[in-house]
């Protein structure tokens, strides 16, 4: 039973399954389709406060699903300028629309060169394939 995961071409990705949409000096971030499918039904989201300064790979927020809890790590460093507060009342948006309606926060980049370290869509797709292969091997 292999599942397919949506990976839009125009986004950048981390190996922790966050996505980044660069917008000039800012970056919109969220979690990938793979992340939401692995977590299954998301029941609760904790967002950062506006103006919080985050470093890349620090905890930006938390996503709770029916059975587990996952940190959302900041893919890039900077200052949080906007959060998607709609998620507080409707965490299910993260399952329904992880790449658009389900964005988590907008970060003002403190070091735009960090974007270069992220994976592009092809690299992220290959990374997912490797993960799935490892999983299949473990099952065998």
């Amino acid at each position: 039973m292999s599942e397919t995961y949506e990976v839009p071409d125009e986004l950048l990705y981390t190996k922790d399954h966050e996505w980044v949409l660069p917008e000039k000096k800012h970056a919109v971030v969220g979690i990938t389709d793979y992340a939401q499918k692995k977590l299954r039904e998301i029941i609760y989201v904790e967002l950062p406060h506006i103006n919080t300064k985050v470093h890349a790979r620090e905890v930006l927020g938390t996503v709770e699903s029916v059975k587990s809890t996952a940190d959302v790590l900041a893919p890039v460093s900077g200052r949080v300028v906007e959060v998607n507060s709609k998620l507080l009342d409707h965490p299910e948006i993260l399952n329904e629309s992880p790449y658009t309606e389900g964005w988590i926060a907008k970060i003002e980049l403190s070091d735009p060169s960090e974007l270069e370290k992220l994976l592009d869509a092809d690299e992220y797709r290959r990374f997912l394939e490797e993960l799935e292969e490892e999983k299949t091997e473990e099952e065998m």
């Binding site: 299954r40 039904e41 609760y44 904790e46 709770e64 029916v66 940190d71």
Partner: protein, 360 residues
């Protein structure tokens, strides 16, 4: 792995299947949100065929159960059910069960899936002459219709059962086959449980499909878990097990100490004098976060206990769970802190669950 009899049917509609206590079963049919709402506002149906069902009968049945159960089985009337514990000699809990009295010498017992072989072995090792213990788990199906509207749905299948008191039941017939229908459940709200006592796949499907066609929402074990946590019901193997006694598990109310003898009584008499050092308690989060098993609970800066199960309760929109805490903290509103992955979140002890049945 065992699989519940209707698994193939459920597989067509369920969202997530999974394993529970050695059984392949349904975790979610649709979403937890929708399923929970149905159970709390209307009616939902759970397939709980994984639970162990045992028939205990014969001239020595009452005397035998009087020995292995903590309740007074002699006082139980036919047509009534009671919650009980099975203890070992040290007072540790082997399982928690419900027992329905069919006649003066015949009973139907429901116990946990997790403990199936252990309980059956325990019963057989302690069995008396003239008692028959039969595991009927794999020759039957078991459904729970739960929610405020459950009475009318169940009545529309088996005839009027709205007059049943809580934990009262009786036999009803569907397709010439007997079903045990009891007003009972594990959600903290009103509900009925239906156990087939004959018939096969075809009958099980007929009963399940009847409720589907009526619009009763199919619900999985994830929803069942949230409902039982809201009701403050501990789950064997999760919140307590054989290492715990009834005092710790908060289940001493199910022990009849004035009964002449039962296995574990002597040990409990000794323990009762000392009192437990920890007791299963209810904890409600006042700050964001979902209490999860293993999370530590603090009073001020001092570690006081540990969470054993928890959920985000849709009833209150906050985290709610069960935790072992010192008995002295059993004060409603007592302030504690739950360590949610490194961040201490304010919570309070609750002495009442979020939902409890105003008994029909």
């Amino acid at each position: 792995m065992n699989k519940i009899p209707l698994l193939d049917l459920h597989e067509k509609t369920a969202k997530e299947l999974g394993e529970f206590a050695g059984w392949r079963t349904v975790i979610t049919f649709s979403t937890l949100r929708e399923e929970h709402e149905a159970v709390r506002k209307k009616a939902g149906i759970f397939d709980i065929s994984h639970m162990t069902r045992t028939k205990i009968s014969g001239p020595g049945a009452t005397k035998f159960l009087q020995k292995v159960l903590t309740i007074d089985v002699e006082k139980l009337k036919p047509g009534r059910m009671k919650y009980s514990l099975i203890l070992n000699m040290d007072g540790g809990i082997i399982d928690d069960v419900t027992v329905y009295k069919v006649t003066y010498d015949s009973y139907l017992m429901v116990s946990n899936a997790l403990t199936r072989s252990h309980v059956l072995e325990w019963l057989k090792n302690n069995v008396d002459e003239e008692v028959l213990v039969e595991d009927i788990t794999e020759n039957s199906a078991f459904f729970a219709v739960q929610g405020p509207k459950s009475s009318s749905y169940v009545s529309s299948l088996v005839g009027d059962v709205s007059g049943f008191k809580w934990f009262e039941g009786g036999f009803r017939t569907v397709d010439d086959c007997r079903l045990l229908v009891t007003r009972s459940g594990y959600t903290g709200g009103d509900g009925y449980e239906l156990m087939t006592l004959c018939g096969e796949q075809q009958l099980y499907e007929k009963v399940w499909s009847f409720f589907m066609e009526k619009g009763v929402k199919p619900c999985g074990l994830a929803c069942r878990d949230v409902c039982r946590i809201e009701a403050g019901f501990p789950l064997y193997g999760q919140d307590f097990d054989e290492r715990n006694d009834p005092f710790e598990a908060g289940l001493f109310w199910a022990v009849k100490m004035d009964k002449q003898f039962f296995i574990g009584k002597e040990a409990l008499e000794r323990k009762q004098a000392k009192g437990p050092v920890k007791k299963l308690s209810l904890v409600e989060m006042m700050e964001p976060g979902v209490p999860r098993p293993g999370y530590k609970v603090y009073v001020g800066d001092v570690e006081a206990g540990v969470v054993t199960s928890g959920c985000l309760s849709p009833l209150i929109g906050r985290g709610f769970g069960l935790a072992y805490l010192p008995p002295s903290l059993q004060v409603d509103g007592y302030e504690v802190y739950v360590d949610v992955r490194g961040s201490r979140r304010r919570a309070v002890v609750r002495t009442k669950p979020l939902i409890s049945l105003s008994r029909p």
